[in-house]
Symmetry: C2
Subunit: 237 residues, 2 copies
Amino acid sequence: MSLTVAVVDAETPGNVGTIARAMKNFGLSELKLVDPPELDPDGEAYGFAGQAREDILPNADVVTFEALTEQYHTVATTAITNEDAAKHVRYPFVTPAELADELTGVDSDVCVMFGRERVGFTNDELAMVDQICSIPASAAYPVLNLGQAATIVLYELRNLSVERTQHPDAIDRANQSAIEGLHGQFGDFLEATDHPEEKRAKAQRLWRRLLGRAHPTGREVRTLRGLFRRADQKIED
Amino acid sequence: MSLTVAVVDAETPGNVGTIARAMKNFGLSELKLVDPPELDPDGEAYGFAGQAREDILPNADVVTFEALTEQYHTVATTAITNEDAAKHVRYPFVTPAELADELTGVDSDVCVMFGRERVGFTNDELAMVDQICSIPASAAYPVLNLGQAATIVLYELRNLSVERTQHPDAIDRANQSAIEGLHGQFGDFLEATDHPEEKRAKAQRLWRRLLGRAHPTGREVRTLRGLFRRADQKIED
């Protein structure tokens, strides 16, 4: 699958730059512009693009809407959907998360499209695209800014485009034997501090539940175990 | 649970406005500002805030970082995490989606915090907060713009804050008997068009798989059924 981003008839250069930055943050590079505003290298588009000023913005192609619908499986994002199937222009729609699920494993060239700042896409444009995507937001104010809407959609599609994130593969959680060792040490601590014998089992259960929810790291477990051990030694001295 | 947003020592009024807009889009209202830039009602903060210019921005409180850590369960968002448990300042961390899961059902006052444009939070500040959140992004360029990062986190937390979205409760899918009716009509159509008898079962299966993936609406099914019926009648005439 390939994933291309198109911005259609944006007014504000800053929004184009914001979208280019989100593309780079989420591993995308192909930007198509339909009727773009002027993108001055010293202006807001480049100012908002972060490192995307170096490649995505200068390499963006200016194309027609029709060229995109001919070449790609097109998905247009709109805040306002229709309420039911009586109007097919904006219905049915998918959420960004549903779109990510649907596109996983589909082998086609997909173009996600973002429209004008105030009015989004025209109904004629929406009628030409293959899918409608809409971000669930507050009914009281569902209209997101163009750059923010694109950022959310590209974030949701990241598993299709980001090969490697900045995060470690997995958080290094303590193994169970280390955790059990800490529970034993905590038991010794209760004994050393003369915690009332009839209340010890309850305190141990409380401690087990707390650590069970926290999924401690190996280092956290080793550090706590050492702290309780030191306390025991101090008390014995 | 209550959810408050804090912006710490932002330089750019536009980013504060962007965050206020995302808050309103996702059903939040409490904004706290630590060392904010000047927010001129005729300037960028209000210009970027959309309808949040009417309430969230003018009602924002200026507070200290310490006041927030005392009053709230604080979560700071950072692009750059530590790789392992040798450094606890930024480790372990949760992703925004994990944070949303964790906070569901927790009855506490939570403050999600967003830091400076270039340097985010200081290590001293991070040491004071309760949790670290980090957005998974491309390892090649994981640093999001402040306003875009906040937009994604508030989007992920929307189920904690948005009572009702702009979307209909559910897409009106066709019931199975309507779909089976369409399959029968499609069979009649194959017969009426003299589709080779030995290939009909295969064509019916293809059609069943296509509709099975598309989850058609009631209206789509009725329309297609009508189209095939008309075609049969035209052929019979």
